[in-house]
């Protein structure tokens, strides 16, 4: 009956792949992925707030006063968090058909099916935002006056608002299938989960990254300096360094420990110098 004979017993254990800070930061449990899915939604909403505020331009108003500017940390955090979710779902929505098995294809199909009506809601919400906030910007232009109705004004909306809306919807379109997968996929298998060791647990890693992200955003918004983005990057590096231990890496040699320690020290010094110089200059 059988056309496939059972292979001989395993003789050698599978080697663990090299673990980078990206692997260490990737959420493996469903609970963690759900937390970061929510975080990404908040980031996108903040991005929308930055876009509709003041000049309705992603790059801000360019006058250097910080009004309407979107902190640099947003442009770092959005791809980082999205990348974490993407890796956490093994990029099922990005892979070609031959690389997916039947379960992956089923998961991808249902993710797209769920994401589609959600995207329709986002588009409608985006149009509502454009109508509500874009009207003020449109009134500043000379083409319409205060008597223009909302329905009329939406047809003469500022081009930057349309570009901002398009970018915002594109971000949602890219995120929603992955976000749906990240929300629904079960916990990763034991082989993927970090072995018990001296490293940080996933909840602690999430907390470290979350606090760094929130602090960076708060500092950026209050102090109007982009050095706060470095705090977030430093937290990523720290989580990566500690995550390597949790991922079952062999103990580092003395030489390698020194290299890591020097690298971390330089990074922290760079952050400190950037903060001091920013606060002194501002």
């Amino acid at each position: 009956m059988s056309t496939m004979a059972a292979p001989t017993p395993a003789t050698a254990p599978h080697e663990r792949p090299e673990v980078t800070w990206r692997d260490a930061a990737t959420p493996l449990s469903r609970a963690s992925r759900r937390r970061w899915t929510g975080c990404y939604v908040v980031l996108l909403m903040l991005l929308a707030a930055g876009i509709v505020d003041d000049a309705l331009a992603v790059s801000g108003d360019g006058d250097g006063d910080g009004d309407g500017d979107i902190p640099l940390i947003m442009f770092i955090a959005v791809p980082v968090v999205f990348g974490m979710l993407r890796r956490g779902t093994r990029r099922i929505t990005a892979l070609d058909h031959p690389e997916l098995d039947e379960r992956d294809i089923h998961a991808r199909t249902s993710a797209y099916r769920i994401a589609f009506p959600l995207l329709a809601l986002v588009v409608l919400a985006g149009l509502g935002l454009l109508a509500a906030f874009g009207l003020e910007e449109s009134k500043r232009s000379t083409r319409i006056d205060a008597q223009t109705t909302l329905t009329e004004a939406i047809f003469v909306i500022h081009p930057w608002a349309l570009i901002g809306l398009g970018l915002w919807i594109a971000l949602w379109a890219a995120f929603l299938p992955t976000g749906t997968l990240a929300w629904r996929e079960p916990d990763a298998l034991e082989l993927e989960l970090t072995a018990d060791g001296g490293g940080l647990g996933e909840a602690i890693r999430d907390a470290v990254l979350g606090v760094a992200l929130a602090a960076g955003l708060a500092i950026s918004l209050l102090a109007e300096m982009d050095a706060a983005a470095l705090l977030f990057v430093a937290a990523l590096a720290l989580v990566g360094a500690l995550g390597r231990r949790a991922a079952g890496q062999p103990a580092m040699s003395r030489q390698r420990k020194w290299r890591v320690a020097i690298g971390l020290t330089l990074l922290m010094a760079f952050v400190a110098i950037a903060i001091v110089s920013s606060s002194g200059g501002g």
């Binding site: 009956m1 059988s2 056309t3 496939m4 059972a6 292979p7 017993p9 395993a10 599978h14 093994r90 997916l100 098995d101 039947e102 379960r103 992956d104 079960p186 990763a188 298998l189 034991e190 082989l191 993927e192």
Partner: protein
Amino acid sequence: MGRRSKEAEKPIFNRLPVLRAERHLSRQQLAEAIGVNYQTIGYLERGDYSPSLDLAFRLAEFFDLPIEAIFAREPFTPTSRQTSTPEEAQ
């Protein structure tokens, strides 16, 4: 007759962990032999995913067993209870 909701579907139990352990196979090795990702083997074992008929047949052919010896609607009797004599069971 209407469709059953996802929650109303009866679970499908399997003996994949036992069969894999008997043959000293890792999930990765079984997955490569069957042609799926190793995560799928784990999700099958945990009951997070019910296989298609095609995948069930591939597993049955691989283990050289009938499908009902691998998958069932009711939980499988533990091997320890299967091998014990009636006197021991009492």
